[in-house]
Amino acid sequence: MVQRYFIFTADRRVLALLAGILVLAAAVYGQGYFKKTGERRFFSGFLFLFLLTVLGAVFSALWLGFLIFIELSTVALFILIAMKERNVAFRYLAVQLAGAAFLLAGIAGAGIKGPVLFGPVQPPFFPLLLAGLGVKSALLGLHFWLPEAHGKSPAPVSALLSGIAVKTGVFGLLLLTGGAYVPSLSAAGAAMALWGAFQALLQRDVKRLLAYSTISQLGYIVAALGAGGVLSVPAVLYHAVTHGLSKGMLFFCAGILEKAYGTKDFSRLGGAAERLPGTCILFFIAAASMIGLPGTAGFASKALLKASLIDFPLVSACLLVANIGTAMVFCKMSAFAFGGVQKSRYLHSPECFRFMNAGTAVLAPLLLFSGFFPGILPAFLGSTGHSFYTVPKCGESLLAAVCGVFLFLFLKKRLRASATRVRDIDVMSERFPNMIGNGARIVQRLQGGFLRGYLLTAALTALILMHLFS
């Protein structure tokens, strides 16, 4: 019975492990983040429910089961976001359910004859599923909901959104393509990596910067996913895990900054390194893994990603540029938030941050461990024999980091003053409810309140129908 609905292969277990660890860290973190006892209980309860739904989604053997659990996890996240930010939660839910419409139609199409296995589907329904999963995993063009949802949610929830929720969508994509070569996905991934890094550089808000960085890292994952081949599955999962852990830590750090200074704006942050040394160290570990410096998990996963993209020099080049961008992004964050002088009043005594720092610190050893023993996770996924610490690989990674640092120093003044915003389609997220409202106006115009209009419409429709039937 269980085998009919759930399967427990190694790749699924890896994602489940990621979810479990992140939820555990978020649970610890939440004890410090939420002040009232009632809020803490509520948060922990729904966190647990969220974990159950994610486990259900990743272990599903059928597409329908995956869909149900992923919608349930959306609802759980919606409730968690709604604790603090109702409008953000509302828009998140609306967009995700709209995406689920495509997924539903696609799964229904593929599953007419019976339950359809969670895996590749027949070609005519592929685009529908791609669109549906694209919304979940924020593919380029469908990412409009992400910066707002990840940027404005409570910090522990942002960590879950960036760390797990989008990964379940990616996992769906991974099983949908089934390791086949999908050039459009590779191209989309490369574009996402560049566009995300570029937008992240221009952000003035710490969490929005992290949100765009998520888009950039998802670009890496999607590029490898589209390339297909033997290495793509371990590479995608490895980077998903690494990114989940490090982005979780970074969002946790951003939450600590927000609590400490009451702002997320770079122009009002600064000097956190002195007041919050522990947080600063944790931030540097996570940022190093994000950039992919040797000795961290990020280095290992990126090395595997590049190995899987060996036949695609153009994509690899794009990712290298994006890597330089990532280095600049985290230089920006460290220089403007942790470095410099303090600009805002410090709000809390350090004891408040005990739980938050503890929650963040849970994840750091995993990143370092995975950096020192890079082969363990791929071996668990059944892919052995990779050499990670070779001179060219280390060199490339260090070169990208150094380039990023120098470029950042060169552009520092401009980036600090950057009031320019390059338009992205994230404005769609705020306009989405208005668009629905405008659609309503058309229908309401018919509802004029006068009987003559109603009768005329009915009579005209009768005539049209008569013409149609004859």
Binding site: A101, P433, L446
Partner: protein, 507 residues
Amino acid sequence: MIFSGYWMLWSILFPMTAAFVLQLMHHFAPGRTRKWLLFSAAATAAATLAAAATGCGKPEVLHIGGWSAALGILLVTDRLSAVFLLISAFGGAAAAWRAFCALPETSAGKERWRFCGLFFILWAAINGILVTGDLFNLFVFFEILAVSTYVLVGAAMTRESLEAGLKYLVLGTVGALFLLLGIALLYMGGGVLNFALLSSVMDSIPRGARAAAGSCIVVGLGLKMGMFPFHFWLPDAHSTASTEVSMILSGVVVKASFYALLRVTILFFPDVREGVSVLNVLLVLGVLSLFAGHLPAQRQADVKRMLAWSTVAHMGYLLVGIGCASPLGIAGALFHALNHAAAKIGLFLGAGSFSALAGAGEWRSFQGLGRRFPGESAAFALLAGSLIGLPPLSGFWSKWMIILAAMEKGYWAAALAVGAGTALSCAYYVPVLFQLFGSQQIEESFKKNALSGSFQSSRLMLGLGATTVFFALLYLVPEARDQFLSVGSAALSPELYRSAVLEALIP
């Protein structure tokens, strides 16, 4: 003998009699009115359930009076009408519970019993529509239904409800006119009014007359059920009527009209080879109704008006289901009719009770009520979630069946529209739920609301909330699902109905 065909007759005659006898009862023994009201409602529900049970096997035919087929009155139940009789029994009982169980001791409350006459006539008309086997009787029952609903809507005696009742009267009369015109055309062509006999002579009716009759009947019945673009009366009427009337209107009355449309379409206008068939038109109008209902529901301040618009949208789902013209589609539509009836009855009940507590119909005034009535509010949230279509609640499964049916036939746009309905309906239910469960300014509203009384019919609300989980099992248990599918395939074949009735007519 227990399930003899006469239960069909009782399900009509009993409420009809009760409507008149109760008035006399009240005159002679006013103290016992409430007891008799409850007894009549329970007996009517029981008779309706028994009538539903008669149709569970093969179609059951009751030939009243033994006149010849062309003249005699026929009552027929099959499994399709059984589903709707079930909705009628439980929906009518729920509305009666809300109306009569807790008759308040105020003077307005004591006057509430007067409502019962029209209420039982309405219930009789609904049952009549569901069991009749004859086109003209269908029309007669529709007239009885219409006249009682016009007055029931206006009986709230507010300015808005009187206006809504008047508009409903005018539009409903025009709808009846179209219906009568269609029936007359069919009678002129076929010479009989009996469903089964007429459907077997449909081929002899000229094509033009058939087309005219088809469009007239679609307009007439579509107007009664609130299909786009004839839905104009529905938001006004369903939102301004008193709570128990809204419950039965949105839960049961529109479903009865939907049943009539389904029955007539499948018997008289099955798929045509060339041109546009009635079912295709229903599919398109269903998709349009879906948007025409969900979109205006977005920014309604009044919660009952929002629910009324959502009814238009859900009629759209049902139409998409039958527009697919497959067993799965019809099964999905029937299942959705069941879910929607339970959920909408519960939501109107909750909306009415919350409005009474908050002192206003706007959902913005519901602040903090969720903290005071956690069980009832949770039931409200479950019912809303079911109508939004969140898994694993029952509404999700009926939508899933409809989407499956649409994709099976290759109607991608219809499937996507049904899916998009999920996002659209979450956009108007979620703010209401936020308001109910929200934490902002709880203290103030808590004090304000603490003054007024308790939630009306709270047990009924909790029971209806539980249906969202219980009905989900109807899909998840394979045997129950197969039952629905077999009802769907039986409903789709006119031969089955025809042969059963003809067999009973000509022994």
